[in-house]
Subunit: 378 residues, 2 copies
C-alpha cells in the first residue's frame, strides 16, 4: 500500500502509478478540490465521469462544518460524500493562515476565528492529525506553517523551521492513530521556504532526514510570486526530490502550470481554479480561454471546445451555455466547471502518454504555442 512506481520518464518529466487504499492513481494527475465535501457545484458522478482518479477534501472547512465528528458518525468522508475512489485531505494549515481573520501563532499551534461564526478555534499538529484520521482520506498532510507570500528570508526561515518541528509532532500523532490499521492512511510532509532557494533546499533536506515518506508535497507556492519564481523553485528542488516517491505541488493547477510543473518533475496537482473559473464563465480550451458570456457566442451552435470529449461539449452549444449564464441557471456554471475539470484531467493524461512515448518536450512546446497563440492569459 502507498507504493509508487515510475512507469517512464523523459528528462525530468515523469509518468508513475500510485497505489492507495481506495484505488490506483496514474500520474501525472490533476486532483479536483472537494472543499466542503463536494467538488464545488458538482455531483460526484460528474467528477468521476470527468476522469478524476483522486479528489481533495479540506480539513479546515470540514472541521468547522459539519465537523469531523459528524463525518465520522456517517462513515467517514468517502461514505459521507459517496466518493469511493482515492482521496487526500490537506491539513488546514493553508486555510488557517490565508483565510481566517484573527489568529495567534505560537510553537504549540494556531488560534483562529472561524470564518463562519467568528468562534475561536485552535489547530495544532496533533489536532490536524486527529481530524484527518476521522475524515479518513487515503493521504493526510502534515500541519504546516505557511508564511505570507513574498516573505523575507527571516520570516520564511522561521516558518520553514517551525514546519519541520511540527512535522515531527504530526508524524508522531499520525503513527499513534494509524498503529492498529497501518494500511488505512499515509502522511505526507510539506516543503516550505517561500521563494528562497536555500530555504527550500534546507526544508527538503530536513524532512527527508526525518523519515521515509511515501510522498512529498511542495507547499507555499502560487501565493503571489510570479510564475517564473514558482517554476524556478521547482527546478531548484527537482534534483533533490526522491525519484521513487510521488511529488505533489499544492494548490497549483492553471493549464500552463500543469504543463510546466510536469516538465519540472511534478506528479500531482490540485487547484480550485477549474471550478472557480467555470462558475464565473471562463472556459479553458486548447486555444486559450473563452469567456462564455461573450456576445460572439450568442448564435454559436458549436461546443465550447471542439476537441473536448467532456459531457458539456458532447451535448450543449455555446449559445445555450451563454444563455444559461445570463439566465442565472446553475446548469451553466456546472457545465463549464465540468469542462474545465475534464480539460485539466485530459491535459495531465496527454502529458503522461507523451512522457511514456518520449515525445513530451515536443508536445509541451506545441501545446504552449497553441494555448498562448491568441495572447490569452488564464
Amino acid at each position: 500500500m502507498f507504493d509508487f512506481t515510475l512507469d517512464g520518464t523523459q528528462d525530468t518529466a515523469r509518468a508513475g502509478t500510485l497505489v492507495l487504499p481506495h484505488g490506483t492513481v496514474q500520474t501525472p494527475c490533476f486532483m479536483p478540490v472537494g472543499t466542503r465535501g463536494a467538488v464545488r457545484g458538482l455531483h460526484p458522478e460528474e467528477v468521476r465521469r470527468a476522469g478524476a482518479q483522486i479528489i481533495l477534501g479540506n480539513t479546515y472547512h470540514l472541521h468547522l462544518r459539519p465537523g469531523e465528528d459528524v463525518v465520522a458518525a456517517l462513515g467517514g468522508l468517502h461514505r459521507f460524500t459517496t466518493w469511493d475512489k482515492p482521496m487526500l485531505t490537506d491539513s488546514g494549515g493553508f486555510q488557517v493562515f490565508s483565510l481566517t481573520a484573527l489568529r495567534k501563532l505560537d510553537e504549540d499551534g494556531v488560534e483562529f476565528a472561524s470564518h463562519i461564526d467568528g468562534s475561536l478555534r485552535r489547530l495544532t499538529p496533533e489536532k490536524a492529525m486527529a481530524i484527518q484520521w476521522d475524515l479518513g482520506a487515503d493521504v493526510a498532510m502534515a500541519f504546516d506553517h505557511l508564511p505570507p507570500g513574498q516573505s523575507t528570508h527571516d520570516v520564511a526561515r522561521d516558518a520553514m523551521d517551525r514546519t519541520l518541528r511540527w512535522l515531527e509532532r504530526s508524524r508522531h500523532r499520525h503513527e499513534e492513530l494509524a498503529a492498529g490499521t497501518p494500511g488505512r492512511q499515509t502522511l505526507w510532509p510539506i516543503v516550505q521556504g517561500g521563494s528562497w532557494p536555500d530555504l527550500r533546499r534546507d526544508s527538503l533536506a530536513g524532512l527527508l532526514a526525518s523519515g521515509d515518506w511515501t510522498g512529498v508535497a511542495i507547499g507555499g507556492l502560487s501565493v503571489g510570486e510570479s510564475k517564473a519564481v514558482m517554476y524556478g523553485v521547482l527546478e531548484e528542488l527537482e534534483p533533490a526530490l526522491p525519484r521513487d516517491r510521488p511529488r505533489y505541488l499544492m494548490g497549483v493547477g492553471f493549464p500552463e502550470d500543469i504543463v510546466e510543473g510536469i516538465a519540472r518533475g511534478v506528479d500531482l496537482f490540485d487547484c480550485v481554479a477549474a471550478t472557480r473559473n467555470g462558475r464565473h464563465g471562463s472556459a479553458w480550451t486548447a486555444d486559450g480561454r473563452v469567456n462564455v458570456r461573450g456576445v460572439a457566442l450568442r448564435l454559436e451552435d458549436a461546443p465550447l471546445d471542439a476537441g473536448c470529449d467532456c459531457e458539456a461539449c458532447a451535448r450543449f452549444s455555446r449559445g445555450y451555455i451563454r444563455h444559461l449564464f445570463f439566465a442565472e441557471e446553475h446548469l451553466g456554471p456546472r457545465l463549464v466547471s465540468i469542462h474545465n475539470l475534464r480539460f485539466l484531467i485530459r491535459l495531465a493524461d496527454e502529458a503522461r502518454k507523451h512522457v511514456l512515448d518520449g515525445t513530451f518536450a515536443a508536445w509541451a512546446s506545441e501545446w504552449r504555442r497553441r494555448y498562448f497563440a491568441r495572447g490569452t492569459t488564464a
Copy 2:
C-alpha cells in the same frame, strides 16, 4: 397527431394517453417547469431520469432572454435545450399580468416593462403565437388575460370575455403559422373566470363553441383563493369538459393538488413548487414535508424518503444533504429538487395505476391520511 385516448376512468378520475410530435404522454402527468430553457437548477438528463414525459417552457422569459430569434437560430427550443421529448409553452399571459411592474392593457394587447431591464415591450395574441411558433414546442397556449386573484365578478367577466376574443385571434394567427406543417404544434385554449362558477361555465362554453380543440386548459387558479375554492371550480367545470380531450390545470402542483385535481378529472399539471421547495430545502415525502436543514437530520444516514426511488434517495444520506445546504453547495438544492420532481411524477403515475385498476378512491383516501398525519401543510 395530438390524439388523446382514455385508457380508463374511475368516477371522474381518468387515465389517458396523449400523442404529441415528440412522443407520447401517459396521464395523469406532472410536467416540470423549464422556465428559462432549463428546469431550474437541473440537467435535462436529471429531469428525464426523474421520469418526466413532458416539460414546460416560458414564453415571457424566453422572449426577453435569449429571445425567440436566438432559440430559432439555434434550432428551436428542443434542440437549444437538448430536451427531445414533448414540450409545452405557456403564452406569456400569466407572467405579463403577474410579474411585470408596469403595464397598459387594451383590446389589442398588453404593454409591459421587462423585469430584467425595464424596457417597454408589447405582447398581443398574434405576437404570443409567433414567439411560440419560433420556440417550437409541441403544444402552444392561447394568449389570455389573467385578472388579479379574487377579482370582482365585473373584473373577472371582463378578463374572461377578452380572453375569448383573444382566443379567436390566437387561433387565427396559429392557423396561419401552422398552415404548412400542421403536425408540428397544436394550440390549446384557456378557461378563465376567476372564482365565479357562472363565468367559468361561460368561458368553457364559449371556447368549446369556437373550435374543436385538441386539449383544454384551466387557468387563473392557485392565485390566492383557498384550495376549497379551487377544487370547487374544478367540480363545477368537470361535467362540461370534453371527455375525449386532455385537461390541463395550469400552474398547480403541490402534492395534495395533484391528488385532488386527478380526483376531479384533471390530466395534466405543472408547478414550480417542486424545484422552488427543493431549492429552499423542503422535501416532500409520503409522510409529509421534511425540512432538510432540521437538526434532527444531522447524523441521519437514511435517505430523504425511504420509499423513494429517485437518484438522491438511492445514494445520499439526510446528514450529507443537510450539510450541503449549510455549506451552500449547489448539489444540495439539486438533490432535493430531483427528489421533489420524482415525488410528483411518481404520485401521478401511482394515481394512473389506481385509476386503471379501479382502486383510485381508496388509494387517494389512504394517501391523504398518511400525508397529513403529522399535521404537515406544504
